[in-house]
């Protein structure tokens, strides 16, 4: 183990003196809060933005009040259908017995205006029906024979927060675990050949397995630091942004202790596995640049499973899915964030799967590291 520690400390010292790696980590740490701040500002702005409704005919009494209450600005136009193409977000033609709506579904502002209009129209219809029934001496509650009282277990802001974290956190974790240590991994593998230090290193009595473990541990440490720095800065930034007000108090996004614990454990597993993978690729390469070329497909391989889950809402996977590396980490982390629960069997399978992946890659790297062709080619 002494040789592992020697290699680990030397690699760490070199990495910490490498501007490329430090710049990548610093950029990631600063980029996350900036991106999230922009996203939050856009979201808040979208929620409070006023959309324009071009109309002709007479707006029914009472409906105009609902329009202004939901930030829909009414503007009289000659041809609502033509105006809805570009000039306004929604076109409405009011006649005594009906309303014709014109909007372009390709425009996001038109979609939002449409949803708001549908909402106020149903409220308006309900109010009119209730008033008519009352005029005729009929109790309006007849329209609602089974009254529903909703008791949300989390506040809307908390639900939005969980959904937000469930979307971004696994993505950032995986991306940073891969990219945070990539430069260091290639430098400590392909770089050894490129700067012609490999032969001298292999001439020492240190076992090649221990040398490799030292390198993997150093790269894992940097990957982990990059991932945690990035997520930490993101959470700090989110804690400063209000996502709604409940009971007079402003609500902020925060990670539950369970989710934080699961995330750290998964980050350790992912960082170790990715380090073994990237060092294996780097060992195959003759130069840093060639190593980068080998590593490029890795981005797609890792980002794909991380992304696909985001497009399948309420995905309820069987235990077999947790055998698939990366996808399993996303599923476990999302469960911990969104539902604040953890399936121990899923976590166990995920842990075994990621450890096995790292182990296989480490074995491959060791085989490559001890091949004569490695020296002959260099």
């Amino acid at each position: 183990m002494r040789d592992v520690a020697i290699v680990f400390l030397k690699e760490l010292r070199e990495i910490l003196r490498d501007r490329r790696t430090l710049t990548a980590i610093a950029l990631a740490a600063f980029a996350s809060p900036v991106v999230l701040f922009v996203i939050s500002q856009v979201s808040v702005r979208t929620a409070s933005q006023t959309y324009t409704v071009g109309y002709s005919g007479d707006v029914p009494a009472g409906l105009d009040i609902l329009f202004s209450a939901t930030s829909l600005k009414l503007e009289r136009v000659d041809d609502p259908a033509a105006a809805a193409r570009q000039k306004v977000d929604l076109g409405l033609v009011f006649s005594p017995s009906s309303v014709d709506e014109y909007y372009d579904p390709a425009r996001q502002s038109a979609q939002i205006a449409d949803i708001r209009f549908q909402t106020i129209l149903s409220r308006y219809d309900a109010a009119r029906i209730a008033a008519s029934l009352q005029e005729k001496g009929v109790d309006p509650s007849i329209l609602n024979p089974l009254p529903l009282t909703v008791h949300p277990l989390t506040s809307p802001a908390q639900a939005a927060s969980n959904s937000f974290l469930g979307f971004f956190l696994p993505y950032i974790l995986i991306t940073m675990c891969l990219t945070g240590g990539l430069s260091a991994a290639l430098d400590s593998s392909a770089g050894e050949r490129e700067r012609k230090t490999l032969e001298s290193l292999l001439l020492t009595p240190a076992s090649r397995g221990q040398v490799l473990i030292g390198k993997v541990l150093a790269v894992s440490t940097i990957s982990l630091a990059a991932a945690l720095a990035s997520i930490g800065s993101m959470l700090i930034a989110l804690s400063q942004i209000s996502f709604g007000i409940t009971g007079g108090r402003s609500e902020h996004i925060a990670l539950s202790p369970l989710a934080a614990l699961v995330m750290t454990w998964l980050a350790i597993l992912l960082a170790t596995s990715f380090s073994a993978v990237t060092i294996t690729l780097g060992t195959l390469a003759r130069s840093f640049r060639q190593g980068q070329a080998y590593a490029t497909p890795l981005y797609f391989i890792t980002i794909f499973p991380a992304s696909i889950v985001l497009f399948i809402p309420d995905f309820n996977p069987s235990l077999g899915y947790y055998l698939i590396p990366i996808l399993n980490a996303v599923l476990v982390l999302r469960e911990a964030i969104v539902h604040s629960t953890i399936s121990w069997s899923a976590l166990a399978v995920t842990t075994a799967s990621l450890l096995a992946t790292g182990g296989v890659c480490f074995y491959a790297a060791l085989r490559l590291f001890t091949r004569e062709a490695l020296l002959v080619r260099s």
Partner: protein, 242 residues
């Protein structure tokens, strides 16, 4: 010490489809500079790589101070220091840190480390640049770092593989002086080169290999024979063997 420091016996090695070594044998003693001579591609580097356990022989055997390279590779590596023409160093470490790293990996213990590193820095006159990052060093200074890391664990066998091929006159001279000094300290120095002028000046005994075979061996005077210079003898031997 009795017997040879390095004993190479009927060594054979192929790299891919090419038979690089075809039964090389020789012995090198402690306290001598042993020249391994041959044209480019003769098999000198492959032979040295097998001696220092980087490559495994297909047939034949190598012993270093009684340790077989196949059965006791780590014991062999503890006793061997290798200097090559490739002076790769870790650019973001200082000269001193480069040397200390290899000393630690070669088994120099923490209590001994500082003294050993200081000693080798002084011996090679590296004090003026020992704390500079390796990326800012000249080729000659880097070559000194390469030598220092190869000898910091005080190995009894030193191997130099074309050590002066990338160096200027001054740096080359320092390497030659260092080899002579090491011989004086009782080390077994194996010097692989195709620069016959250097070999003639430095080596006590030489072996000439060509196309993976030994074509001549003995003291420098014996191999030179009736020729005026070792180079003439070398050329006639190589031509005869081709």
């Amino acid at each position: 010490m009795t017997g040879a420091a390095v004993r190479v016996d009927r060594l054979e090695k192929s790299l891919g489809p090419t038979r690089v070594l075809r039964g090389i044998s020789f012995e090198a003693q402690s306290g001598e500079i042993f020249g391994l001579l041959g044209p480019n591609g003769a098999g000198k580097t492959t032979t040295l790589r097998i001696i220092c356990t980087l490559l495994a022989p297909d047939a034949g055997s190598v012993e270093v101070l009684g340790f077989d390279t196949r059965s006791a590779p780590q014991e062999v590596r503890r006793r061997v220091g290798v200097v090559t023409a490739e002076i790769g160093v870790y650019p973001r470490l200082s000269a001193r840190e480069n040397i200390a790293y290899f000393a630690e990996l070669s088994g120099v213990l923490d209590g001994e480390l500082r003294r050993r590193v200081d000693a080798v820095i002084e011996r090679l006159d590296m004090g003026s640049f020992a704390r500079q990052r390796a990326e800012s060093l000249s080729s000659g200074q880097k070559q000194k770092v390469a030598i220092a890391r190869a000898i910091v664990h005080d190995p009894p066998v030193l191997m130099f593989d074309e050590p002066t091929s990338n160096l200027d006159v001054l740096a080359s001279r320092e390497i030659r002086d260092f080899m002579v000094e090491s011989r004086g300290r009782g080390k077994c120095v194996i010097f692989s080169t195709h620069v016959l002028h250097d070999a003639e000046r430095l080596c006590d005994r030489v072996t000439i290999i060509h196309q993976g075979r030994v074509v001549a061996g003995g003291t420098t005077a014996e191999v030179r024979g009736s020729h005026r210079e070792l180079e003439d003898s070398f050329l006639s031997l190589v031509e005869a063997a081709s």
